[in-house]
């Protein structure tokens, strides 16, 4: 017998590797709907990633604890740490895929880009509530992507609408301070088109990941003296931007963030000095007193089963957003069950459900989110379902709404979306579905 030792070692190594795989597969056979939760609770983006993840997981827990699952079918989930890195996100996705998930929420536009093609092959719904590719609103090309409740193009358009209310934008200057990643770059095409249309100048100021070095950026802001600064940051970049704005005396009143730059971790480090800073919301702010929050405390936190370290976190902006993201998923499953029966759903069935969502105000009130979610109606043509938002402003202590409801101008955006989706379809050799034939 030659090579016994090596063979043993090789066999052991393979068994170890195989064991990891087998352990995954064994769990896949169950009576539950499986949802992978891609999170980042460590690293540079943890302060923002953690509350979102807490909200998302808590809502799934709540549905299981309060309602006994979605129409009696429990939801199983597993967290996977991505660190907001694209390759780790793909790794998580591949790892959890063997558990037959129905939908995935990567909470990263970069990961969304990487997964867009994979989910279509794997028949898993890619839900990107408030982020992801703007052109994926077009469901004829992006059948599996669902950028619910608003895209960055919507946000860019609404922000321009808001500042336009304060006076004609002709000859004005708007600076976009953005995270130098697919996320930060998403709004640029729309802002450039709007600049042409409305006659303002757009100054683009990229900030390198993770965004702690912004002195030069804000010196440029001081020299260029833009009339408004739009902030498209994430994680520590947001709080740093606000602090640097203070350091160059840029008026916070003229600063507008996207909804990922308008939460507590962004303004708290600067506290009072951040007073007057604005951000567009996805229709919700830091509501704490809705029925869903009361249930959350009653069913989870009072029993010590909450995910967040402190129960004060329940109802913070990003926690709410995590909850809403999970709610959109649960409602999609419910919608699928209404057609296919109350059982464990497959990815394809949930996709149908997500495409035929119809949450009116009464329905939203019934599930306890009154006033936090705009009515959603999805279709093959529109995977977003809602394109509305309003501005909230930090008064040094808390966020409060300071504008009426805005609605993104779909007449303006739709041709851009379709053009971009068409380009993608050509690149990827996708034949778009005919939406008029979809039921």
């Amino acid at each position: 017998m030659k090579h016994t030792w090596k063979w043993k070692a090789a066999a052991a190594a393979l068994a170890l590797a195989g064991g990891i795989g087998a352990a995954q597969d064994a769990l896949a056979q169950s009576k539950e709907i499986f949802v992978p939760v891609l999170v980042y609770r460590t690293g540079a983006y943890a302060p923002n990633g953690a509350p979102w993840a807490d909200g998302f997981v808590d809502y799934l827990k709540l549905v299981n604890a309060r309602d006994g699952g979605v129409n009696g079918v429990k939801i199983a989930y597993e967290e996977c740490e991505t660190g907001y890195a694209t390759d780790r996100g793909v790794e998580c996705y591949e790892r959890l895929k063997s558990k037959k998930p129905v939908a995935v929420n990567p909470l990263s536009t970069g990961i969304t880009f990487a997964l867009t093609e994979k989910v279509a092959n794997d028949k898993i719904v890619l839900m990107t509530t408030g982020y992801g590719r703007a052109d994926s609103v077009d469901g004829s090309v992006f059948a599996w992507n669902f950028p619910f409740l608003g895209t960055y193009w919507d946000a860019a358009d609404m922000l321009v609408q808001e500042v336009a209310k304060k006076g004609n934008l002709k000859g004005k200057k708007i600076a976009l301070v953005y995270h130098d990643s697919p996320y930060g770059k998403e709004p640029i095409p729309v802002l450039e088109a709007l600049a042409k249309q409305k006659g303002f100048t757009l100054v683009k100021l990229p900030v390198t990941h993770p965004g702690v070095e912004q002195k030069a950026t804000w010196l440029q802001v001081r020299q260029q003296r833009p009339d408004y600064v739009f902030l498209w940051g994430w994680g520590v970049m947001n709080s740093t931007a606000i602090k640097e704005a203070i350091a160059v005396s840029y008026p916070r009143l003229q600063m507008y963030g996207v909804w990922w730059s308008g939460a507590e971790p962004d303004v708290l480090p600067a506290e009072m000095a951040a007073k007057g800073y604005n951000a567009i919301t996805m229709g919700h702010s830091a509501e704490k007193d809705r029925p869903v929050h009361k249930d959350m405390l009653k069913f989870l936190y009072d029993k010590g089963q909450g995910t967040a370290a402190k129960k004060e976190e329940v109802g913070s902006v990003l926690y709410n957003r995590g909850m809403i993201s999970a709610m959109m998923l649960v409602e999609s499953i419910k919608s699928a069950q209404s057609k296919y029966g109350k059982r464990v759903m497959t990815g394809e069935e949930v996709r149908w459900g997500a495409e035929h969502l119809n949450l009116d105000a009464a329905k939203i009130k019934a599930i306890g989110f009154e006033g936090m979610v705009q009515p959603v109606k999805t279709s093959c043509m529109d995977h977003g379902g809602a394109h509305r938002g309003r501005i909230h402003t930090w008064d040094g202590k808390e966020w409060s709404y300071t504008s009426d409801m805005l609605e993104a101008n779909q007449k303006f955006l739709r041709p851009m979306i379709e053009a971009s989706a068409k380009k993608y379809a050509q690149e990827k050799h996708i034949t778009p579905r005919d939406c008029s034939k979809e039921k």
Binding site: T4, G21, A23, T86, H209, S420, K428
Partner: protein
Amino acid sequence: MIYRETGQYKTTYEADQQLFPILQDRIFVLLVIAFAFGAVPFLASEYLFRAILTPFLILSLAAIGLNILVGYCGQVSLGTGGFMAVGAYAAYNLALRLPDLNLLVVFVLAGLCATVVGVLFGLPSLRIKGFYLAVATLAAQFFLDWAFARIGWFTNYAPSGSVSAPPLVILGWEVVGPVRKYLLVLGIVCVFALVARNLVRGAIGRSWMAMRDMDVAAEVIGIRPLYAKVTAFAVSSFFVGLSGALWAFVYLGAWEPLAFDVNRSFQLLFMVIIGGLGSILGSFLGAAFIVILPLALNQMPGWLGVEMSTALISHIELMVFGALIVFFLIVEPHGLARLWAIGKEKLRLWPFPH
């Protein structure tokens, strides 16, 4: 007893200089390759292919490239991620602009693009040495990261800066599904691992090692430092660029410069150090270790039946990772390849005591 080269006489120079001079090694390598091609596709689960085998093979190739530079030629580089990015974006642009080109040719050309860039950033190594060079290679890393994020042409003016690979078709063979991807990568890695093994034992490899051991002495005995260092950078960058193209096309599918940031460079450096500097086998072992370790650590609480939060797991992962690196450096600074060699020594005598 099991691993004895007694009785294997080399009667010609060719026999003495062949790729694997010892019969057992030859048999073993052939068996491993046969097993990888013949048996693994039927045995492994989909998860194993996607999450472990494919990334392991691609990163092994990059580790071989880095090992040529660091392990064989002694030039420490922290810019590996940048060169991988060059490979990835070169392949993207070639595939985009010359759609009829065979993908294998695209990959090789992408490697060559990385070679050119690598040589460019390798030239300062003639004047700068040691840590100064290591930090200087970070210039390449950060510059390339920036260039691919900022220069629109590289990403075909994709508004988001994220690009995605075209469908993988090689001579009518559609590379879809984990098994085919694995086979494609395995084939490429086997070929280039043999090329690397060949290079390092030849004249050029010996000149690299002379440069590493003492550059002034090497120069005195007639090795041109320019030639040795620049070829090391060139060959190394080719491997790294090729693996970058594979990483982007086969593993990620869609990517942005952040996928090739400085952490990737560190990760590859870990592979090379833990695997063993100056060893092709070590590159594979190091890559396997670094790919499997975090996954195993991640699964550990589940196996042990302990409930742990994701945050705690990833923090513990960081700690264990750091501690293991220090542990390895202390216990076995020559890496896993050295452990392997010790194992072979033992087998030479086993089961006899002497």
